[in-house]
């Protein structure tokens, strides 16, 4: 099959075409690895676990963001061709390796760090799995930080300050976490100029999330909570 792979760093670069033998069972990451191991050892890309847990190997495949280690070539091949590029909406370090710094910086900016409400000296807080807030929080905890949602988001493309689906979904998890005491602080962090109110509800994040999470609904939840707090005079 014909595989074109992005080569270059920063804003400079072009697609280079390789001919890769097709196999019955073959992932997109297998294709990239085959090129690097047999044709061009200088091809740069990133992966670690190869089983869909670490979130390192996301790339653009035929124009759509995918976790390449769990994406079978058969499912995405178009006319016997494959185009593989670095993740959208992020700077390129080299070839297929995108610079993840803006993605993780926004994660921190959205308040993605747990701020405990109890000290070490106090007894551990019991959390019931049935508690409604916990049930909502549970829906998002399988995020692997692969940045597929961030790459798929047209709002991020148009508004570089926008925090993006993953970071906002994390904030929604914290908002619903019974261990978080200051929920208003969570809302205040995500309702600034780059916050949840910028989302256009296009839903690409939910459409492309490889773990089938639902950042779109999480952001809608944040918007509802922010609107309620505004109407109560706390905005």
């Amino acid at each position: 099959m014909e595989v074109s792979v992005w080569r270059g760093s920063g804003d400079q670069g072009a697609y280079e075409t390789f001919s890769v033998p097709a196999q019955d069972n073959q992932t997109v990451l297998d294709v990239v690895s085959w090129i690097q191991q047999t044709v061009d050892p200088s091809l740069t890309y990133r992966y670690a676990c190869r089983v869909g847990m670490c979130g390192s190997c996301a790339m653009m495949v035929n124009g759509q963001p995918r976790w390449t280690c769990r994406t079978h070539v058969k499912r995405v091949l178009a006319d016997g061709k494959l185009q593989i590029g670095p993740l959208r909406n992020l700077p390129v370090i080299k070839d297929l390796a995108a610079d993840m710094d803006p993605f993780f910086d926004k994660w921190v900016k959205a308040g993605g760090v747990h701020k405990p409400s109890r000290s070490r000296a106090e007894p551990i807080q019991e959390v019931s799995p049935e508690e409604p807030g916990r049930v909502v929080a549970n829906t998002a905890i399988e995020c692997i930080n692969c940045a597929v949602c961030y790459a798929s988001c047209d709002t991020v493309a148009g508004n570089p300050d926008y925090l993006g689906p993953a970071a906002l979904q994390r904030a929604w998890t914290l908002y619903n976490d019974v261990k978080v005491e200051d929920r208003q602080a969570v809302l205040d962090t995500v309702t600034g100029p780059g916050g949840c109110t910028n989302c256009h509800s296009q839903g690409s994040c939910t459409r492309f999330c490889p773990n089938e999470l639902d950042p779109l609904s999480a952001i809608a939840g944040l918007k509802r909570a922010a609107a309620r707090s505004f109407l109560k005079g706390r905005g």
Binding site: T191, T197, N198, K223
Partner: protein, 110 residues
């Protein structure tokens, strides 16, 4: 480029506009059924506080809603930000408010 205040202003103005748009459409359809002339329409709207409040609220809501919507479109398509974006937002709002107020006063004032 939408903080919570802009977001709420746009949503609340949309809530005001919703029923007013339906009312406006209903009135237009009603007005042409019996073949009302411009003079006959004006004779009913001029001096009417109800029509002044109806279309006055419409103009205020549209000015707020459109200015914030255009602000987002401009920012996301051109990257414009900071003071220029604020001037644009308020400028659009004020121009729409002025034009709308002029039209409302012409139709409802005696």
């Amino acid at each position: 480029m939408l903080n919570l205040h802009y977001y709420m202003a746009q949503r609340l103005s949309a809530m005001v506009m919703g029923p007013l748009v339906l009312g406006h459409l209903a009135v237009m359809i009603y007005a042409i059924q019996g073949g009302l002339s411009s003079a006959e329409i004006l004779s009913r709207t001029q001096g009417s506080i109800a029509w002044f409040l109806f279309y006055g609220a419409f103009v205020v809501a549209v000015s707020i809603h459109a200015a914030i919507g255009l602000r987002v479109i401009l920012h996301e398509t051109t990257g414009l930000r900071g003071r220029l974006l604020e001037i644009f937002t308020w400028g659009v709002g004020i121009v729409l408010l002025f034009m709308g107020a002029r039209a409302v006063s012409a139709v409802t004032m005696l």
